[in-house]
């Protein structure tokens, strides 16, 4: 086991896949010579050269269009969109083109492409560089959606995304880039669509994603220590495919479900999980499902304001304590 930062795990994951498959190529803005604005792709140009690691103009439609055309004709591109907010300027290529091409053509085409993007708040960048947009991608049939919380999962899930053969939107939480964690040595692969139970409790099930996983874990410690509430915490890791069996089993065992979502309230992923749980294990519930989300507002910039909008450890503790108490 080596200790890597989340950002180093990105580079390690890309490098692992580029070493094992010469058809894996990587493109994006400032990704080659500069090593990425978050320094998550440092060293790739040196190892793989300018034909496989390519700097692009500020042309997000061209970047993803090129990735798609290459994916349809034998390559396995990894494309970086610097901030997930910029997905909006190339959403046509993602939602109308990549996601639909295989289905529309009756299976003539496969689309092995990974779109990596820095997602989420915590950097005080304001409403156009801090959004948590995983729920956008989740609504489009034909897209897989991944959002790792730990360096090991960054590397392992990136490997799975590259090898998956489908369009995968890979959301990296930008506030986690400097976080360190153990990453297995050698080749590392984590299958898509498997949630991870990080701790198992008796009283409630907290389901979280990306940065909210860490806050939920911290909250669970406090809930146990100070309030005697023993919580399960599930790291979803992927929204599509969605590991509903793990969720349903834990909810059935604990009787309570709390989702902790960084995305704004309306149609956040927790709403879909809430709907599934209500339909499929309603009689196992001992109380209403609780969704803890960012309010339905554009994100404010100032640290005091941003901190007050994103679900915090204190808000998770307080909400769970008062609703379950």
């Amino acid at each position: 086991m080596a200790e890597l930062t989340y950002r180093d795990a990105v580079a390690a994951g890309i490098a692992q896949e580029m070493r094992r498959d010469p058809n894996v190529v990587f493109l994006g803005e400032d990704v080659a010579h500069a090593g990425g604005v978050f320094k998550a792709t440092v060293g790739l140009l040196d190892e793989f050269g300018p034909l496989r690691v390519r700097d692009c103009p500020i042309s997000e439609q061209a970047i993803l269009g090129a990735a798609m055309g290459a994916a349809m004709t034998g390559l396995k591109p990894i494309a970086e969109i610097m901030f997930s907010d910029f997905l909006a300027v190339c959403w046509d290529i993602i939602a109308n083109e990549m996601a639909k091409m295989r289905y529309m053509t009756n299976g003539q085409v496969t689309m092995p492409v990974v779109i990596r993007t820095a997602n989420g708040a915590g950097s005080r960048f304001g409403a156009q560089h801090s959004q948590s947009l995983e729920n956008w991608a989740m609504t489009v049939p034909g897209l897989k959606v991944v959002a790792p919380a730990y360096p090991a999962d960054v590397k392992g899930l990136l490997a799975a995304a590259v090898r998956d053969g489908n369009p995968v939107v890979f959301f990296e939480q930008k506030s986690l880039y400097s976080m360190k964690g153990e990453v297995p040595d050698g080749e590392h692969y984590e299958p898509l669509g498997k949630a991870k139970v990080l701790r198992r409790g008796r009283h409630c099930t907290i389901v979280a994603l990306a940065a909210m996983v860490h806050r939920s874990m911290d909250a669970a410690e406090i809930l146990q220590r100070e309030h005697g509430i023993d919580a399960t915490v599930i790291d979803l890791r992927c929204l599509v495919p969605l590991d509903t069996q793990t969720i349903l089993a834990e909810v059935a065992r604990t009787g309570h479900l709390i989702t902790v979502e960084e995305n704004p309230r309306l149609c956040g992923w927790g709403a879909e999980i809430s709907s599934i749980v209500t339909e499929e294990c309603f009689w196992d519930l001992d109380g209403p499902i609780i969704r803890i989300t960012t309010p339905h507002i554009p994100l404010p910039s100032a640290d005091a304001l941003e901190d007050a909008t994103i679900p915090s450890v204190a808000r998770i503790v307080e909400t769970v304590r008062t609703r379950l108490g």
Partner: protein, 338 residues
């Protein structure tokens, strides 16, 4: 409407077999599009369709000029470009009619014709989207060293969307083997292109911004189009990078099935019908010494082919409902949860 520059003397003589191929293919596209129109009127084809009637010389010339493993990228007005690569006519008509024999098994429809085995890498119904995608296929060919060329067809209206400009810049800086072919039929849907565009030649006048030569050609002349196609494809294959071609043409029908094209000034269609690419090409072939019997034979064969394709498509059943739940993912499934 700006004039089309006089054609330069061709760099090579077009062979007699090639000329017959150009004639045959133009006819095939024309007759199949007419049949599609008839089938609409009979309500055998649902949804929408965008016909290439009047514009066939461009698709036919590229169809003849391209190699079997080159890539074609079409717009929603893509029946002709798909057929021009040798896609099954029964498959095209069947797809328009929503039958099992359709190229896409009924899952795509008129605007998304695709035949990967024939190099037709899709028809795209969002204006501009397929220009960067074609650039990507060209990048892939360049990376794999296969000498394949990607050809991307689009209309004059596409020159005003961002993806057009992004794709051109991108293709030039990466020196990609891609040929962008603007079919300027002078109308973006229902509006004259000149009234919504800053320059007179919507594609060619933008070429200089990307360091490309301005190329305007008569899109109703199959010989000129063939020479133009060969030059651009050869350049791309030899590593000379992308081309942007503006081919001037005119659609004889409206934008889509829903459009009677009443916005066109009186007499304009009649003027263009005098320049109809197919009768004019036929006259040229006669002047060049091809016999009336040869041409008549091609016409009869082509009509028979269209009739047979129509009969076969009509005989095909509607798709099995099983296909609804197939092929979202590469493993053939549609599952999003366990």
């Amino acid at each position: 409407m700006s004039a089309i520059p006089k054609a330069k003397k061709p760099a090579f003589e077009i062979g007699r077999e090639t000329r017959l191929d150009l004639f045959r293919l133009q006819l095939e596209l024309r007759m199949c599009e007419k049949r599609a129109f008839d089938l609409f009127l009979q309500n055998m084809i649902k949804g929408t369709s965008h016909l290439s009637l009047g514009q066939e010389a461009i698709a036919a010339a590229f169809g003849v000029a391209m190699k079997a493993d080159d890539y074609t990228f079409c717009t929603y007005r893509g029946h002709a470009h798909t057929l021009a690569r040798g896609a099954s006519m029964t498959g095209v008509l069947g797809e328009l009619m929503g039958r099992e024999c359709g190229l896409l098994g009924g899952k795509g429809g008129s605007m998304h014709l695709t035949d990967v085995e024939k190099g037709v890498m899709g028809s795209y119904a969002i204006i501009g989207a397929h220009l960067p995608i074609a650039a990507g296929a060209a990048w892939s060919a360049q990376y794999r060293g296969t000498k394949q060329v990607a050809v991307c067809f689009f209309g004059d209206g596409t020159t005003n969307i961002g993806a057009f400009h992004e794709a051109l810049n991108f293709s030039v800086i990466w020196n990609l083997p891609v040929v962008f072919v603007c079919e300027n039929n002078f109308y973006m849907e229902y509006t004259p292109i000149r009234s919504v565009t800053a320059v007179d030649a919507p594609a060619a006048d933008r070429a200089a911004a990307y360091g490309l030569p301005s190329i305007i050609v008569d899109g109703n002349d199959a010989d000129i189009m063939y020479e133009t196609a060969m030059a651009a494809i050869d350049k791309a294959r030899a590593g000379g990078g992308p081309s942007l071609i503006e081919a001037r043409t005119y659609r004889h029908s409206g934008h889509s099935r829903a459009d009677p094209a009443k916005y066109r000034p009186e007499g304009e269609l009649e003027e263009w019908l005098k320049k109809d690419p197919i009768p004019t090409y036929r006259e040229r072939l006669l002047r060049l010494g091809f016999s009336e019997g040869t041409l008549k034979g091609i016409e009869e064969d082509t009509q028979r082919k269209v009739d047979e394709a129509t009969t076969a498509a009509k005989a095909s059943p509607v798709p099995s409902l099983d296909v609804i739940d197939k092929d979202v993912w590469a493993d053939g499934s549609t599952a999003w949860r366990n």
